[in-house]
């Protein structure tokens, strides 16, 4: 309860900061929309040459593109600003002030900041998903909707855990900013069905860098095409990565000896 109230305060502070720079806000929204257009054009041009990619039709693939856009928005809005801040705080030693506050340090460090204009991506992503489903003439039943919600929450957990783990690495390494670049590069594969990729790469994207769990599987869930075994696998994956990243954070904080001291 206390944590929810804190979260509300963090969000309000974030929005107030954004609203101070309105021109910036408008430009950022436009920028979000132009990137969404890039994603849409990328999928569409493929389908001007073929009827399906990796067994997915145009509107099915657009569901994935929509989820890619929405999840990208969540990353930009919540994860990226905080991870950047954590890296900076570790480098400057100002993390000390955060650690001495009477709240869970991971909660505080990972949710304190936000970039509210990236919500544009979440909204346009959702719009793309709804539009594609309606063009398919398909309304998900309660079962697939429930499966989708579970899969999406697990996708959030996985993405959150990866970002926290990357931020935690900054306790030992200076150039972690590069690592987030690498994540963004690999995340680009999430705009297409994982079945597009062949052989080892597909295995890699499913199990090592769990990109398939972020867009492909949730899309399958909402389309009612999810394999029975995937759901428990996703739950196991989400919970494991979350617990592991939380443990990693605690371990790092325990060994942390502050900068310039």
């Amino acid at each position: 309860m206390r944590y929810l109230r804190l979260l509300g305060i963090f969000m309000r502070a974030g929005i107030l900061v954004e609203l101070e720079y309105r021109a910036n806000f408008a430009v950022r929204v436009l920028l979000s929309l132009s990137w969404t257009a890039v994603t849409l054009i990328g999928t569409t041009v493929l389908f001007t040459q073929t009827g399906d990619i990796g067994g997915w039709t145009y509107y099915e693939a657009l569901v994935i593109a929509g989820l890619f856009t929405a999840m990208g928005g969540i990353i930009q809005a919540l994860l990226q600003p905080n991870v950047q801040k954590i890296i900076e705080m570790v480098r400057l030693g100002t993390l000390d002030f955060l650690l001495t506050k009477p709240v869970n340090s991971q909660f505080m460090a990972s949710l304190r900041h936000s970039q509210i204009y990236s919500v544009t991506d979440v909204l346009s992503g959702a719009a793309i998903v709804v539009f594609s489903l309606s063009r398919l003439g398909y309304a998900p039943d309660t079962g697939s909707l429930a499966a989708f919600i579970v899969m999406f929450v697990m996708a959030l957990l996985i993405v959150y855990s990866i970002w926290i783990a990357m931020a935690t690495l900054s306790f030992w390494f200076v150039q972690v900013g590069n690592l987030t670049e690498l994540f963004s590069a690999v995340y680009d594969t999430a705009r297409f069905p994982v079945s597009t990729f062949q052989g080892l790469l597909r295995v890699f994207l499913t199990l090592v860098a769990p990109i398939a769990f972020i867009t492909t599987f949730p899309a399958q869930a909402i389309l009612g095409k999810l394999d029975g075994g995937i759901l428990p696998l996703a739950v196991g994956m989400g919970v494991t990565t979350f617990v592991a990243s939380a443990w990693f954070w605690r371990y790092a904080v325990r060994t942390y000896s502050s900068a310039s001291s």
Partner: protein, 262 residues
Amino acid sequence: MIRKYAALIRMSWSISMAYRAEQVVWVLTSLLSVIMMLVWLSISRGGPVNGFTSGDFVAYYMVGLVVRQLTGVWTSYEMGNEIREGTLSPQLLRPIHPVHRHVAANLAEKAMRMTLLVPLVSLVFILTPDARLVLTPWSIGAFALSVAGAWAISFLADYAIAILAFWTTQAAALAQVLYSLRIVFTGIIAPLQMFPAAMQAALNWLPFRYMLAFSSEILLGQTGGDRLWFGLLVQWAWVAFFFVAVRILWRLGARSYSAVGA
């Protein structure tokens, strides 16, 4: 002038040598091209797509990778900071225009990236015998000319945006818009031949094609004769246009520069 450039490039080279890990990441950001190549390969498994065989897609994207790294620019990002923080001021007092320092930094980085990329791309060509290029003295010469033009357009367009930082704090956002346009219209997401005919006709006159796809097309033997000459002509016309635009913008911008924070 040449001696000055040699010194500037040596300086920039040493700076990039010091941050070598950073270079690897820059190569990694080309991953979108590789991803798009794999997606097109999965489609072309059933047969050629619009005249492109699997080998053509590999050749197209591998050449594209090299061209993209050769023409990459980030000056607007750096200069935006320099203008905002006022560190541009001492540069303006030196007897050499700041643009030369930016050009030198850019060229030194290029050399650095090629030492990584060229062996990698060569390996892909060796492993993919289907990926064929048309390598004649003629095509190589035209390719080199087109890459120089592609770099000039990219650099000058980016520099024009960089100069806008004299007036607006949103120059970085503008650079990003340009970047998103480049991903679609320079031929990263798809070879331009995959776009509808009307769009291709328009792209023949716009600068985007000449920032990347045009060079790849030359080495793949997809553009020759009159179409090659036409392309080079339009490309260098754009170079001239951006050159004049940058000169005018710089003159106006330097006048209104008030050295924030200095």
